[in-house]
Amino acid sequence: MSVLVDDDTRVVVQGITGGEGKFHTEQMLAYGTNVVAGAVPGKGGQEVNGVPVYDTVAEAVEAEDATASVVFVPPAFAGDAMFEALDTDLDLVVAITEGVPTQDMARVNKRLSETDTYLLGPNCPGLITPGEAKLGILPGNIFTSGEVGLVSRSGTLTYQVVDNLTQRGIGQTTAIGIGGDPIIGTTFIDALELFENDPDTKAIAMCGEIGGEDEEEAAAYIDEHVDTPVAGFIAGRTAPPGKRMGHAGAIVSGSGTGTAESKIDALNDAGVPVGDTPEEVADHIESFL
């Protein structure tokens, strides 16, 4: 089993005719993902890699029974694309786009709260259920099917941790990149809840980073609601306060919360061991299985 996506997931790609959209559609198809439609205004009736394109997401959903969308749309239009996706009844929207204005996301976030849809991202690598479906830009070949659920704010850090697991022969149920922006849709807590309710997920790896209080809140949630063992990692221990390090989210405000220390303490208090290195995260996970 898995969470959010599997081989029944029917994917519409928003922005399928753009450079990135086209390339990753190819990659997703090659991985075996069920990409059933594209949606690009004015390009309805065309095909990309044999996938039919529609002018609107609503048309694509109706014609091809899509259940999820992946957004490869430039930042200026990505908010609108997410609104369009959220106004259909898709189960999942994955926003890959990096650089979406924060106020656009504040508005999308409000809309999201009115729906039952999961929104991953923006500025995330997507998610993968190894051997079944990949939605996004993750390199499929490093993943392998297994019993570990992985959730991470960072893309390449996810690959690093997965690699450490896979090298030891430890596979994943689903790996979810939730994105590093200040406002994201699906949070650690949402992902933890999904993994907790997935009988095949026997252990969870959770990779956070400095900035915000999502990890602290996740720790409190784990303490109360999660029985599946969790191992954590927090990037940015050495980041100086007040400096922005790539991820818009990775700003340490300088006050009590949001630092690596407060996050690690919170996780430890919830019984979650936090590795000093990705290798140590793999050690903890191995000990759980």
Binding site: A76, E209, G246, E279
Partner: protein, 382 residues
Amino acid sequence: MKLHEYQAKQVFADAGIPTPDSQLASDVDGVLTAADEIGYPVAIKAQVQVGGRGKAGGIKLAADADEAREAADEILGMDLKGYHVEQVLVEQAVDFTDELYVGITLDRGAGKPVAMVSTKGGVDIEAVAEETPEAIAQEHIDPSFGMHPYQARKAVYDAGVDKALARDVSSVLSTLYDLWERKDGSDAEINPLMVTGDGEVIAADAVMNIDEDALFRQPELAEMEEDAAGGDELEAKASEYGFDYVRLEGNVGIIGNGAGLVMTTLDLVDHYGGSPANFLDVGGGAKAARIANALDMVFADENVDSVVFNIFGGITRGDEVAKGINEALGQFDEIPKPVVVRLAGTNWEEGMEILNEDLVTVEATLEDAVKRAVEYASEVNQ
């Protein structure tokens, strides 16, 4: 992107928020002319992007031309926490009876903006927030509706602002929210919002940070960006190249792809006893030329004694990375600083074939690469 005080004040004044008379000056004569026109006493304020300017000697009051000349002489050209002061704002000195704080920022946890009002302005508001959070009234805003007028009033009444001032302060707060929204602000603050003896309010300072991701739709603010950037030469160069770059205090240069992984590399450098010289994220899908630029940048930092190059390819391809490294290092007769490379993910094998191993040290794992780079750096320092 953080606006200078004079830029933020201009934006606020254009929107109708009362601000003191002021003029920008870049030399002593300019300061004196400005002060004459504004009328003494004036405040002379260094225009640099650092907090605590006042304590650091970047703000001085002048009651007459002699004092103004002296202050201008001191401040212009001074080094303020590493920033060179090239401009000062000459500003009417305001007599005040009270100092308020008003601000708008994003509450990440709530995923929505929050308006804040306090009667404890004029001091370090972060300290107030930590020590007496109840002294700052907060009102969360639903971004689909914007700030309702009643919310501005509520924040003002909840903060305990004098009723005679309530209308003016809530009007300033409403305007500030409007600016925050229209200008894609990440923060907009007035600290202090001074209350004069006549019961007027006036913005004695002005802070406005703009969401860089939204600059494409804020052409007027984007024009201010060049002025607003400042300080470190390497950071300016990185911004030109489009790298996420932060200069740090250590001697191990770090290059990688993806913020989380680069931060992790920094953390491991520290973990294994080294000290990171920088954060440099080449971003996703970097081609050879971009990789070469990154190496050039890190070499240009005199503090750097060794470099660790950590790439986990997703959309970034190992062969492009290897080409870029060869290109950057091929230009030297002697490699200036030892470079440790770790390649994984997409096309890493092709990359390893291309990579000229005479120029770099290759390690298979992140941990080993970091350890090796720390070792090299410590050898240099012995």
